[in-house]
Symmetry: C3
Subunit: 295 residues, 3 copies
Amino acid sequence: KGYSQPSTGVGKNPQNIFFQIKIKNSYSVFTGYLMNERGAVEMSRKSPFASWLCAMLHCFGSYILAALLLGEAPLGYFSNNSSVILATAVWYLIFFCPMNLFYKCVSFLPVKLVFVAMKEVVRVRKIAAGVHHAHHLYHHGWFVMMATGWVKGSGVALMSNFEQLLRGVWKPETNEILHMSFPTKASLYGTVLFTLQQTHWLPISEANLIFFFTMFMIVCKVFMTATHSHASPFAPLENLVCPVLFGSASSGHPGHHHDHHGASHEVSHPPPPPPAKSKEELNEGTRKRKAKKAE
Amino acid sequence: KGYSQPSTGVGKNPQNIFFQIKIKNSYSVFTGYLMNERGAVEMSRKSPFASWLCAMLHCFGSYILAALLLGEAPLGYFSNNSSVILATAVWYLIFFCPMNLFYKCVSFLPVKLVFVAMKEVVRVRKIAAGVHHAHHLYHHGWFVMMATGWVKGSGVALMSNFEQLLRGVWKPETNEILHMSFPTKASLYGTVLFTLQQTHWLPISEANLIFFFTMFMIVCKVFMTATHSHASPFAPLENLVCPVLFGSASSGHPGHHHDHHGASHEVSHPPPPPPAKSKEELNEGTRKRKAKKAE
Amino acid sequence: KGYSQPSTGVGKNPQNIFFQIKIKNSYSVFTGYLMNERGAVEMSRKSPFASWLCAMLHCFGSYILAALLLGEAPLGYFSNNSSVILATAVWYLIFFCPMNLFYKCVSFLPVKLVFVAMKEVVRVRKIAAGVHHAHHLYHHGWFVMMATGWVKGSGVALMSNFEQLLRGVWKPETNEILHMSFPTKASLYGTVLFTLQQTHWLPISEANLIFFFTMFMIVCKVFMTATHSHASPFAPLENLVCPVLFGSASSGHPGHHHDHHGASHEVSHPPPPPPAKSKEELNEGTRKRKAKKAE
C-alpha cells in the first residue's frame, strides 16, 4: 500500500502517491455518504448543487480546515482540478448511477472493508503530512502541529455542525469535540504521537510510526465496520487514566452540590445515545427505526 | 453605464469606475434594506451598531467572502475609508432621515428600478473581477475561479444564515445554497461562463460577455421587480436538463423506497414557500400578512 | 503595574511585560470561568478536552479573532508554547484542584478584585497593540484599526455564540453585538479613542491615553464587581446622545406604524433582561434562581 516507504516530504514513488491520492478522494465520498445515505439521496434530487458541495466537504474538509487554521487559502486544494473532477465523478456515480449499481458495489461488505482500510492508510498519512506542514511554518509550535495534524486526520467530522447546516439540519446539542467519535479521537491521539515523534521526544522513526499506527487503525476500523461493534478500543486505557486525571463524571465540587441539578441545564444534555457510541451507530439506529416505521 | 468598455484589469476610465463603485455601495444598502425594512427599522433604534454592521455586510459581503476563500484579509476592503463612510452615510439616511424622505425616494418604483439595474451592472463586473483575481492567484484553478466569481456575485446572500444570526434570527432549515434565490443562481451560471471565457473554452471576448450577461440580468431583475413575478427565467432550461442529469425529485433508488418517508425527515423540510420563490417574495408575503394582521 | 511606561512597539521592560503576559492568560481563564462555573464543572468531568478548548478560547480568543480579521494564521499565537502550557495549568488547577482550593482562593473577593483590575490593564494594552498592528498593515485603514482594536479588547465575548456552541449550547436570539456587555462596549469606545490617537486626531500621547483609559476601566470594573451593580457607566452619555442621533427606541417611521407590532417578530426578541444588563447579571440571576430551585 506504499506506507512502508518513508513519507518524509514528497514520496519517492510519485506515481504510487498520485494514484493513492486519487483513490483517497473517492473513499472519502464513499464513507461520508455511506453514513448519510437516506437523507443524502433526497437532497441530491432536490438540491444537487448542495449535495455536490457536501461531497466536496467530505472529500476535502481536512485540507480546508488545515488551511483555515494556518491562515492559508481554504480553497487552495481545489486548484487540483483532477482531484475535484474525480470526486465529482464519484459523487455522480454514487447518486445517479442507473439501477444504483455503483452504490451497491461499494456497499458490498468485502469491498466496503477494503475501502475502509485504505481510508485509514490515507488518514494516517494526512496526519503526518499535517504535522510536517505545521512544523515547517512553526518550528517549535507544538500545539500548532498537533492541531494541524488533528484536523487533517478528522476532516469534515470536526465541522459536522456546519456541514449539517448546509443540508438544512441543525443539532447544536452535540458536536464532534464534545462527543468524539472514534476516528476523531484516534486522530487526536495520533497527532500527539506524530508531534512527539517530529520533536524527537518519541524515539521511533516516522516510517515505523506510520506503519504501526496505520495497522492499529485498520484493524480497529475493519473490526468495527464488520461487526457493527461500537466499543471504543481506547475505553480500557481511558477508564484507567481519566478518573485519575479528571475525576469521575458524577462527582462535582462539594460546594456546588446544591447547584448540580441546575448545572446540568447549563451544559447541553448529550443526545440520548451515550457519548461512546460512534456516529455510525447513531445512523445505524436511525436507519433501523426508519425501516421499522415504514414497515 | 460604462459596461461597453473592456473591463480587463483596471478600467480605462478611472473616474467613471470610481463613481460607479461609490454608487454600488449605496445600491447594496438600498436593495438589502428594501428587503428587510420592517425588522431593520426596529433594530436600528434598539441596536444601531448591529444595524450598521448588517449594512456593512450587505455592502461588502462579496469582498469579505472572496477574501476568506482566497486566504486574504477579510477586512482588506474596509481600508477604503471613503467607501465605508459613503455606505455609512447611506445607512444613516435610510434609517434616520427626517420624515423618512430618503427611503421614500429610493422606494419610488421608477427610482428603485434604476437602482436595481445599476446593481446588476455592478454584480456582473464583480463576478468578472473575482474570476480575474482568482486566475491571477491560481492560473489553472478552475474551481477556485468559479467559487470566487460566485461569492463576488452573490455577496451577503451566501452568508445569510450568519447575517441573520447577527440580527438575532436563526433559520437553519434553509440557506442560499439549498434553496437558491435568483441572484445567487444567476451568479453561479455567470461565474461558470466567465471562467470558461477566461480559460478560452468559450470563444467570446470578455467585454461582449459582460455586455450580454449584464443585459440579461437587467432585463430579468427589472421585470421581476416591476411585476413582482417570481418565475425564474432559468426554469425552462432547468426543467429540461435537470431531470436528465439528476433524475426527478420524486423518484429515489428502488431499494430505498421504504425509507423515503423517513428520509424526508433527515433532510430539512424546505420552508412553506417553494424554493423557486425569491427572498423578495418571502418578504413581500410577510409584509402583506403583517399589514393584514395589524388592520 | 507597568502601564505608566510608553507601550509603543516592544516595551522597554521585557521582563515586566513577559510576566504580565503570563499573568494575563491566567486572568482570562479565571474571569471566563468565574462566569460559567456551574456548567463548566460538569463539562470538565464529561468532556475534558472540550472544557480545555473553551479555556483556550477564553485566554486567546482576542488573538484568534484579530488574526482572522487580518488574514493571518488564527493559530499563530499558539506557537507560544509557554503561554499555552500556563493557561492549561491554570485550567487544570481551577477544575481539578483537590478540595477546590485554587478556585476558592481566586474567588475570594479581594483576590478576585485584584485579578479584575489586572485584566483591565491587559485589555487596554491589547486594544492599543491591536490598533498598532492594524496600522502597520493598513496605514490609513481607520476602520480596520478600529475593528482590530475592538476584537483584541473584547476577546472571546464577540464569538460567544460559537463558544457556547462548542459547549453544546445555542442561543441565537442574542449576541454580543446586538446586546453589548460592558467590556465589549468599553472596548469599542476605547478602540475609537486609540485609533483617533494613532491617526493624530486626538491630541494626547499614547502613554497618557493608556493610563487614563486603564484607570477608568479599573474603577468601573472593580466597582461593578464589588457591588454587583449593573449600571453601565456609559448610560448617562448614551441617553443624551443616542436619542438625538438614532431616535428613541419606541418611535418608528410614521408610515410603518401599522406594522410595528409585526416588526417586533421579525427582529429577535431580546431575552427578558434588558440590554443594559451585563452578562454577569444574567449569570448572577441564573445562579440565584438555581440556588432557590435547589433549596
